[in-house]
Structures are given as structure tokens and as C-alpha cells.
Symmetry: C2
Subunit: 107 residues, 2 copies
Amino acid sequence: MDVLGDPVRRRLVELLADGERSAGQLATAVGAEFGISQPAASRHLRVLREAGVVDSEPRGAVRLYSVRPEALDEVERWAHRVRRFWDGHLDALETEIARGRRRRDDD
Amino acid sequence: MDVLGDPVRRRLVELLADGERSAGQLATAVGAEFGISQPAASRHLRVLREAGVVDSEPRGAVRLYSVRPEALDEVERWAHRVRRFWDGHLDALETEIARGRRRRDDD
DNA sequence: GGGTTATATAACGCAAGGAGCATATAGGTA
DNA sequence: TACCTATATGCTCCTTGCGTTATATAACCC
């Protein structure tokens, strides 16, 4: 999940959300948006590939990239889990506050 | 969202999923898990704070941190959006493959 | 006030990551 | 075979980010 900490890589994943794209198309796109070179884009793709976020398959002279949804499941579940937990506690807390109970906060 | 690219910060957010914690409790926890010092933990908290992922409120001599669920909504929605888009395309693709149709791929 | 605890900031060093250019590799085509 | 396109890799440089130690700030307690 660390790999998605980079904006270029997140953008690549977004682009792949619409379906498969060739390395060249992706490189052109992020190259234009972020002003980086083809090798730079290629290296980002490698990081995503090695992290299992994307998949790649050679199709003739071109290499097609695609998202592996399972990888994103992990991200989504993480955020969901953390958020939901807290929402629950928030409710509980508000209930207590509504009761006018002062929370004792030791240690 | 870049801020969650760091494992220490993700852990801090996880810890806060259970509810508010003091800076000291958090520093002790991640200090033990990752072997980092109190100032290091404090800086991570600052990054999270400035990114709007967490909130902090002084409670006497202690400073309580808490998660801001909205920030996680963003993460969750991003992953959801990307994943769902692709799931749709995946279905379409599989249908075509099942038909034995060879996809001609020239952009 | 003086000491102690809790937390943040300052100053600095170091390692990792990301960028560029040049080049290798591989496939497609004439 | 020779050449062109597509993509990846090697090498090097530079910036960014994270860590540490020392210190500042602020509240609490005696």
C-alpha cells in the first residue's frame, strides 16, 4: 500500500480504471501531466507491478497494463475498517456527552 | 492521501480507530513497534494533523488525538471508484473472451 | 517558584526515492 | 538482414523525508 503514496502512481492506477492501456499510452499521459520522461513512467509501472497493484501482459510489441482489483480491495477495506470503527465510537461518545457524563480520562 | 504512504502513520491512524489517544500513548506505541523516538512520532502526528487526517485537542497537560473520518472517506472512495470501474470492464472483457473473440488492439 | 511530565520544535545527518540521459532488448516490418 | 518502434534498465545526480539529539514551551504538583 506504500506504493500508492506517490501521485504519479495513483494517477496511473486511475488511468487504468477505465481499462487496459499500453505502457506507451500511460507514459504519454503522465508524462504530459507531471512532466516526466518515459523511463520515469516505466519505473513507476514497475513499482506498481512488483507491488501487485497492476498486471502486465505483452501484446505484440506493446505491453498492456491493467489494474488488479484485489490490490485496491485492500486499500478500501483498510479505510473502511478504520473509519467505521471510529464512527461507532463517535456515536458512543456522543451518547455519553448527551447524557452529560464527564469522561474521566486517566493515564 | 500521500501522507498514508508511511507505515508508521498508517499505524497511528489504526491506533486512533479505537478512539482518542494522547500523543504520549501514541508515541509509546509506535515507538515500541517501529523503534522510533518521541520526536519522530510527534512529527508523524504533525504530518497527519496538517493533512487533516487527524484532529488534536489539548486536554490539560495532555493532547488528545482523534481520527477525522472524512479524510478516510476520501481514501475509501478513491479505491472504490477505481476498483468498481475496472470490475465492470473486466466483466465485459471476460464475456468477449468467452465468445472466443479475439480482441483487435490498435489504439 | 522549582521541579517534573507531556509534547513540540530546531538543527542536522543520512539514506531512499525519483528524475534524467543513454542504452539495451525485443518485436514488427520492409 | 536492417531499421524502426515500444519498453525496460543502468548509472548518476539531487531532492525529499525520516531519524536522532538537544532544547523550548506549557501544564501540573509540591
